[in-house]
């Protein structure tokens, strides 16, 4: 275990944060929840940027070293962490390279991540001599990520790193972060309120609401759960892992195997027999009781209804469908639910209108 934390704090404003967190030695652990759930405060406590009040009970241990307890407090600069916040916070009086070199000067760690490595990982060669005020939001955040990695030996903490940049840059940066998470041998703690980001990146999730950990578990168990998705509205959806089978040249479609069933996505140059993550929005999944024989919809999966989330008066419901191993979510109207009289345990067919491949660029490297 890389880090074990037990937090019991109370702000003068009345906000309370109670959490037990274990961070394993590798992989991405997500702290996920709506704004005000305490996830950012929790991360800042782990970084040492906040230390709570005297009456709070905070214990943070990392590999046998006490970072914080009732008597001891290790300041952030002695924790050897990398931290990326929502704002890039690039030092304005110097260039991109100057920022990276300052980081190197602050933490001359021969064992940590080297300057040349981060420059090539994050492809910063062309930006090195630019001043921070000349960079776009996405570029600035990329530099901020690079700067945080230099000399880091313990872990990388990220606090909503994509929250204030445009959608196009988000996708690009998300892929950089994903690539890092597979390259780096240090654990990453990732705070976000965006389900897509979490489903794309995380290996484990802590779900926070109103200052408490509501649930935690692996991505596979929790990522597609109703608990996590029920408040997400149109963003609700499932992330599935498939195996790539090959490209059908005649139709320009790539076939994927999910458990024992087959899916098709439009032409992708994918390596066969590698793993692909796909995202399926719940609103694009509809349900039929019989296998449709004459339908334009290609992707139809047989599944079992395992749970139905009926928010009291909402016009739609979220249905959890069990494939062999994985969970697929469907959002249908309450009227349809009554019309089909769906109940748990029932065998149904899920028709999928759209699929997006999440890590298409990364696949060719697998």
């Amino acid at each position: 275990m890389f880090l074990e934390a037990s937090i019991n704090m109370r702000r003068p404003s009345g906000f309370e944060l109670q959490a037990q967190i274990d961070i394993p030695d590798s992989g991405v652990t997500a702290l996920f929840g709506p704004s005000g759930s305490g996830k950012s405060t929790l991360l800042r406590l782990l970084a040492g940027l906040e230390r709570g009040y005297e009456s709070d009970e905070i214990t943070i241990m990392s590999r046998g070293t006490i970072w914080q307890d009732a008597v001891k407090f290790l300041p952030p600069h002695q924790r050897s962490i990398g931290f990326v916040s929502q704002q890039p916070q690039l030092f304005p009086h110097t260039t991109v390279l100057g920022n990276l070199k300052l980081a190197q000067k602050f933490r001359p760690a021969p064992a940590g991540i080297a300057l040349a490595d981060v420059i090539s990982w994050l492809e910063l060669e062309s930006l090195l001599h630019a001043h921070p005020q000349h960079l776009s939001g996405g570029e600035a955040q990329r530099v901020s990520l690079a700067r945080a990695l230099i000399g880091t030996t313990s872990c990388l903490l990220m606090d909503e790193p994509l929250a204030s940049i445009d959608t196009a840059s988000k996708t690009v940066l998300l892929e950089y972060i994903h690539r890092l998470s597979t390259t780096l041998s240090i654990p990453i703690i990732y705070v976000s309120h965006s389900l897509q980001e979490i489903q794309f990146l995380a290996d484990r999730i802590y779900l926070l609401r109103n200052g408490s950990v509501v649930s935690n578990g692996s991505m596979l168990d929790l990522g597609n759960s109703l608990l996590l998705n029920k408040d997400q509205g149109d963003n609700a959806g499932s992330m599935l892992t498939c195996e790539t089978l090959g490209l059908d040249e005649q139709y320009g479609l790539t076939s994927l195997a999910i458990d024992q069933q087959r899916l098709y996505v439009t032409g992708q140059k994918l390596n066969t027999h590698s793993h692909a993550r796909i995202s399926v929005p719940a609103r694009d999944v509809s349900i039929t009781l019989q296998q449709p024989q004459q339908s334009s919809i290609l992707n139809i999966l047989e599944a079992t209804v395992v749970d139905i989330e009926k928010s009291t008066h909402a016009p739609s419901v979220l249905i959890s469908l069990q494939l062999e191993q994985q969970i697929l979510l469907a959002r249908i109207t309450r009227k349809s639910l009554d019309h089909l009289s769906l109940s748990t345990g029932q065998r149904v067919f899920a028709q999928i209108k759209s699929i997006s491949l999440l890590n298409e660029n990364l696949l060719s490297e697998d």
Partner: protein
Amino acid sequence: MHPDLLALIVTLKLATLVTLVLALIGTPIAWWLSQSTSTARVVVEPLIALPIVLPPTVLGFYFLVAFAPDQIIGGIWLKLVGTPLAFTFSSLVIASCIYSLPFYIQPLQLAFQSINRGFLEAASTLGASPLKRFFYLIVPLSRRGFITAGSLAFAHTIGEFGIILMIGGSIPGETRVLSIALFDHVESLNYQNAHMLALGLVIFSFLLLLAIYTLNRAPQEQNRGLQSHVS
């Protein structure tokens, strides 16, 4: 050496020394004032600003009393150094440091307060100790504050008169500074020399202020240039 030239040398020596001493003791005080939430700040801040509002003769009077060999400060000085403090160059340095303290601290405190806390947090998570944060981040980011503070303290010490009149006497080469020399010329109706000194001080002060404003404006224009380039 011409007595007025000697006065100029004493004045420049005094102003330089005072600015250096203030950089050493005033900078930490300014930093503390800019960051502290302690209640002591409520008292310390107006205490430091006192020389701005008090007539210099009031301060000079208290210094005169305190520097006497039978008083605490004068007594300690006598024990440590072996000679009396009153009517020496050292007494001018001590008095001027206190007199010019607010002129050094206030611009610097403002500059420190305007530094984005996010930069400092970022630096601490990058492994920068408080000392490294200060020299690699706070100093370059508050460069203008340092320029303004240093030049104001320097210029204000050169312009000092009332306190020096009270505690310094007019010992050539020791405590006779420009403003005192000017006063002496006027008292002895030597208006030609008085004119020379007065005009010299006016021109010097103008040039100094011109330099400060130019130095402080330069990065701003650069920024404006950058912004128009971006848009």
